[in-house]
Symmetry: C2
Subunit: 139 residues, 2 copies
DNA sequence: TAATACTGGATTAAAATAGTCCTGAATTGG
DNA sequence: CCAATTCAGGACTATTTTAATCCAGTATTA
């Protein structure tokens, strides 16, 4: 089972790419090439990030995307939530069609605790940190 | 995004059902009825649990399933792993077709930390505890 | 020996995920 | 102001995963 889906992974890689690009504005095409991501798919990912206010888009020649906020102000919980929804343990916690057994579910408290740990961890990792690690390492 | 899939949820409910059944041996049909689970699907789930050694099956009249171990000896990490594989953050950590970028991936350490927290949490919850909570509560 | 209940393979259905394509609109350098 | 560039967004297709079903077979026991 994978916690981080493909589009979220792409989003993270793209954001870190932006965070480490001195140019500031980078086109989807460039990111896709550098990060080995199908360009059409990445466009969709960038659109989501734009609508969510994580990046700013610039059209036209020399256009592209830039971070809307400083890297230390963006954490993984936000990115994950934008791309694949708030991480939930199971349907007991999914808003609308929540588990019909919910009222009777004594497991709820356990799930809730896990869910919070997960969220706290993700919220504690910022783009800044990821970018720093990249710079420090070989690749 | 859901961490616990349907079949895993069914497995947990079935196991807790067994843990709280004084009879010891309960048929799949009975569990399915009591837990509102499609019987054919539950059969598959029970088969997996049997092969994994979490429960023991008994054929024939008055047959069914019983726990192979004491409830306090079975934790959720085991159940989840049996049903949907070891929880992984992303493909960087999936054995065979692991991420081709793995060697260069500086995010790995972060993922690893999260993965361990997750596993530790799940490993810390036993069937016994879940069963106790059920008994304590209304339903 | 007949009813009960698990075994296991095959198959189908539905949903989620991943990826592609195409038309249009904004921007800008020449 | 025109042509190249680049994002916007809807529609569509493909693939994979998850969920569910069906059936023929075997073991057990009352």
């Amino acid at each position: 089972m994978e916690l981080i889906r493909r589009n979220t992974e792409y989003a993270i890689r793209a954001l870190v790419h932006l965070a480490t690009s001195p140019e500031g504005v980078v086109s989807a095409g460039e990111i896709a090439r550098a990060q080995d991501i199908p360009i059409d798919f990445l466009q969709k990912v960038m659109q989501k990030l734009t609508r969510a206010g994580l990046v700013v888009s610039h059209r036209g020649v020399q256009g592209g995307f830039s971070l809307a906020r400083a890297p230390q102000e963006v954490n993984l919980l936000e990115v994950v939530t934008v791309m694949q929804g708030k991480p939930a343990v199971n349907r007991c916690f999914l808003g609308k069609d929540s588990c019909p057994r919910a009222p009777a579910c004594r497991l709820k408290n356990n799930w809730l605790a896990l869910e919070q740990k997960l969220a706290a961890f993700l919220a504690g990792v910022t783009l800044k940190e990821l970018a720093n690690q990249l710079k420090a390492g070989a690749s």
